[in-house]
Symmetry: C2
Subunit: 417 residues, 2 copies
Amino acid sequence: MKACVIAVGSEMLTPFRVDTNSLIVTERLNTIGFDVRLKVVVGDEVDELTRVLESALAWADAIVVIGGLGPTDDDITREAIARVLQVPLEVHEHVLDRIRERFARRGMTMPEINRRQAMAPRGATLLENPAGTAPGLWIERGSTSIVLLPGPARELTPMIETVVRDRLAPLGRGAGLFRRVIKITGRTESDVDTSAQPIYGRWTSAAVPISTTILAAQGQIELHLTARADNRAASEAALDAAVAELRSALGPSVYSVDGRPLEAIVGDLLRERHLTLAVAESCTGGLLASRLTDIPGSSDYVERGVMCYSNRAKTELVGVPEALIAEHGAVSEQVARAMAEGVRARAATGAGIGITGIAGPGGGTPQKPVGTIAVAVALGQDVQARTFQFIGGREMVKFQATQAAMNMLRLMLIEPR
Amino acid sequence: MKACVIAVGSEMLTPFRVDTNSLIVTERLNTIGFDVRLKVVVGDEVDELTRVLESALAWADAIVVIGGLGPTDDDITREAIARVLQVPLEVHEHVLDRIRERFARRGMTMPEINRRQAMAPRGATLLENPAGTAPGLWIERGSTSIVLLPGPARELTPMIETVVRDRLAPLGRGAGLFRRVIKITGRTESDVDTSAQPIYGRWTSAAVPISTTILAAQGQIELHLTARADNRAASEAALDAAVAELRSALGPSVYSVDGRPLEAIVGDLLRERHLTLAVAESCTGGLLASRLTDIPGSSDYVERGVMCYSNRAKTELVGVPEALIAEHGAVSEQVARAMAEGVRARAATGAGIGITGIAGPGGGTPQKPVGTIAVAVALGQDVQARTFQFIGGREMVKFQATQAAMNMLRLMLIEPR
């Protein structure tokens, strides 16, 4: 089954806004076997939307139009649909009453302009919008189902869920698409692919075929597995086996198979082991502490962080000896080690991390170019230090450094020496 | 002049990836008066791309196709263009030589598959790609110019710059679009619009018409001003006057008119005044320090940060008296004040910031619900504290809290008591 997703709104044709609603819709459509073959962003122009709709009607089994259902002149989705289908727009009195009530509940009178939101092309079925004034619309034309949904994600998300379950799923004669994401860190894309390709290459012709895409993001590689099967149970079983096979081939560089980010994985490992953590950061400037504490409940294991940018702060806050900095330089495994052990001792935590490096763009030298990062992790009797050489701009170097530090701690937690 | 931007790649039809390349292209096209009327994402399917191209040829003055120029089977852009134009694909020997050389320089033999990248539809002009193997292509058909560019942003960005300057700009008979962004914090969207609308409402009918869009992002409001004029000088003059008028109406809540983010504005103010800064964070978990140090050269003024999540860390790291926490609670203006003054005293800096609050989702009480944040700033003799009530999820609350803290410091720096 082929789907077309159309996002309506001139702001998404500027250099400032992307359409992200279509991701929500695509995810839902995929689960019932609808492939999104085309995505379109069109402005608030009734002629343009009409042309796009006409073209999609020629091939799509489902057309999902998002946005342009508001009360103002530039909300043109209803008009475009009526024009394409050559039917008039009609006012639905019970919808009008409901919109009036919504305003009355807030002590306001409905502006006359909102009357538009109670209009629908003749023959359309209204879809309830629990979170807003504009109802959605469902229209069938030949073998194509057309769904009109409001643009705010808060309104769109519950409505697409309902439409997919109650209206589109019964039409989905094809098999559904089910996905898994395997997250890997500490290896390059080509290295991962060399290990993984011989495995996933076989799956495309399996009983439940699985296609695999490799995506390299900053500081991590993702393998996206997509199974096509008639039912959820068959695809979940095939995906479970596939994930297990890749996991065994890729070893401990796989850190997540259930969507959790690295900061949550590390946090859960610390919590399970009743350990607390303190971090001392120089070049990452607090990003490691911030990522760790993005996880709700992280106060259970994050005791403190210190961001010691200056050498004086390194000495005062975590007790790095001035002589050590003078001898090895602030960016060195020796200083990273002293930071990890120092912050752990002062915080009296079970684990400590120290990061020092050159995030750039300035500060590099031939011996220690921009992107040189020393990371140390102290856990029990074990203190490990490593030097990394990252590429990219300042924010990318910072991110990769925090990723590397969390991964070192993760590996020490799961494979203690 | 009307433009259509087509992004080619099946990964952008999954729930995981959005097309962001089109933003880069749109920005460049706008400066020479090309309006992007339609954006399309199409998969690696030659039939689908062919259909989209045929439809765009009917109305667009310029069609920019991004991606699908790689060496593999699923890179189908060349084939689709050749099919639409009904011309054969031809090998360009000098391009083939250049690709072979690129491989040779890395000690590798060119795989036979890369031969595809030296092919072009008959009549196409090759566009040099300084950063990769696949050249771009320029084709004219009737009144439409077709541009094919590679997908990696590193290759795309310099190439669109050159194409726009050398090839599309001379065609742009219309006026160019020029933009400014005014960034505002500490006010709501409707409050900003109430002050700004009577001003920008007049501009649409001015000699150089300026249209204005208001965008609310987390922790800030942006006003996007777009002028349409025959030349850069006229539009820049009109935009300068417009920005000055809005700035005077909106007062010091405007923090940036040149694209700089708040962390850079605050940093520049500190540097100009030869002041250094230390921050003590609880609920923001290091995000404030991380944002401040995202700015290159921030080591000039950021001395240190401490992330004191636990009460013990608040006492040990910045000397907040235990009795003060017991009396007022950890989330209180009194504790925020003690954190700001404590971290400043220990770091011997000119300015200090303290943030304590409840980022959620847990930890709220009826008196202090999730989103309650106390911020204090110490600068010279002046110590100011405020309590905010933010809405949104954990990360959004953290971000807004750092935004509010930087804005308090900014206002104290520009308007000392």
